[in-house]
């Protein structure tokens, strides 16, 4: 899901940075003291998650875990993803600093949307089973949204929206399933051990 340097036009890159700046500012504003360490740990999980490679079919897609971040952190997923992606660009040469804005927005915004979907479903269906399904949807939606937004960003490149969207969706289908399950298990665990961390009543 990391777009490489030199693919996008300056206009798309600048838009990406502007949207990322807005999202990060909002995320930092909503971030409170108690949440800081959770943000750091989840940012580290996101940072490492991209190295876990799911070998299905001929494509080589990796975990993204942005849905998990969105479900647990809400808007605070933005600064977490920004920091993790910056380090991935510097240390692993995934993506790059020029496209950092676009990449953060595609993964960060879909994370926030996944978080809202999770909270909405949890409120509509406040049972343990409902929570499980909500968490699965959150995890899977994070990946799908990131793929969709990446395809939008690539729409102006020579690849075009339709081709990119189709390829990204097919390549990430197993990832969506895997991340749905990971998010479901993690949320289930947190709900048992520290339910206040999910902030279901607050949001």
């Amino acid at each position: 899901m990391h777009i490489a340097e030199g693919v996008l036009s300056p206009a798309v890159l600048a838009t990406g940075y502007a949207l990322t700046a807005a999202g990060t500012a909002l995320g930092l504003k909503k971030l409170d003291y108690d949440q800081l360490m959770t943000v750091a740990i989840l940012a580290a999980t996101f940072f490492v998650g991209s190295l876990i490679h799911v070998p299905i079919g001929i494509t080589s897609a990796h975990l993204i875990l942005n849905g998990l971040l969105g479900v647990i952190l809400g808007w605070a997923a933005f600064p977490a993803i920004l920091a993790a992606l910056a380090l991935q660009a510097l240390l692993f040469q995934f993506g790059g600093l020029v496209v950092l804005g676009v990449n953060t927005f595609t993964m960060g915004f879909s994370a926030v949307v996944a978080g809202y979907v999770f909270r909405g479903l949890c409120r509509a269906w406040p049972t343990p089973a409902g929570q499980k399904i909500a968490a699965f949807c959150g995890g899977a939606l994070g990946v799908m949204g990131a793929g969709l937004l990446t395809a939008v960003a690539l729409a102006s490149s020579d690849e075009g929206f339709a081709t990119a969207a189709r390829l990204l969706f097919l390549a990430h289908l197993p990832i969506m399933l895997a991340e749905g399950l990971i998010t479901m298990l993690t949320v289930g665990f947190i709900a048992r051990v520290r339910p206040e961390m999910l902030r279901l009543s607050a949001a």
Partner: protein, 234 residues
Amino acid sequence: MHSICSRRAFSPTLPALLSTLFLLFTLALPHAAQAHRVNIFAWTEGDQVVAECGFNGGNKVKQGQVVVYDAATGAKLQEGRTDDQGVYRFPVPAEGKGHGLRIVVKAGEGHQNEWMMDAAELAAVQTPAIPASASEAKDAAASAAEKTSPVTHAVSTATPGAKGAAAPIPSAAGVSSGELQTIVNTALDVKLGPIRRELAEMRVSRPGFSEIFGGIGWLVGLAGIALYFKGRRG
């Protein structure tokens, strides 16, 4: 269930569990590692440039688009697709010898990477038959290589009998210095090819444990700094 509930008061449990979770992930790395970045590396082999493209996971880029640009002027010189081994070969363009080459691979889905090739590396390629086109040069190399085998054959048959010793000398002398150079170059290319490939591959960096743990350290450190400032403010 009871023990879990009693742990609820002990706040560091969850961060500790989460961190062990991603530590387990990192321990699973050596075999499952590496992600979705496209790599390209190129080296010269005979009169050709060989570019090999692969994803970090070890998969080859099949039918990926490769575009070759003049490094100085940016003009497009060559375009093609990789085979199923992720390899694209092309003859060294004349422009590349003066300016160097920029080889770009576009693997789709926003994956792109490039490899710079020095003019110096390309200029050293194929000294004897510069005016000949790439295919002609190849033929020349092949025929020269054929010529070598009768020579060696003659030597091996000649050695037992001292009388025939004179026979190989004229035929060895019949090889012109230009042909000899081509023969030596071909032999050197065969021997040096794998080494060049390995050297080129080494220039592609892959994330190791120092990068992974360095990154995790950075993130925790950043949170620590934020906590410190927030704590000071009260």
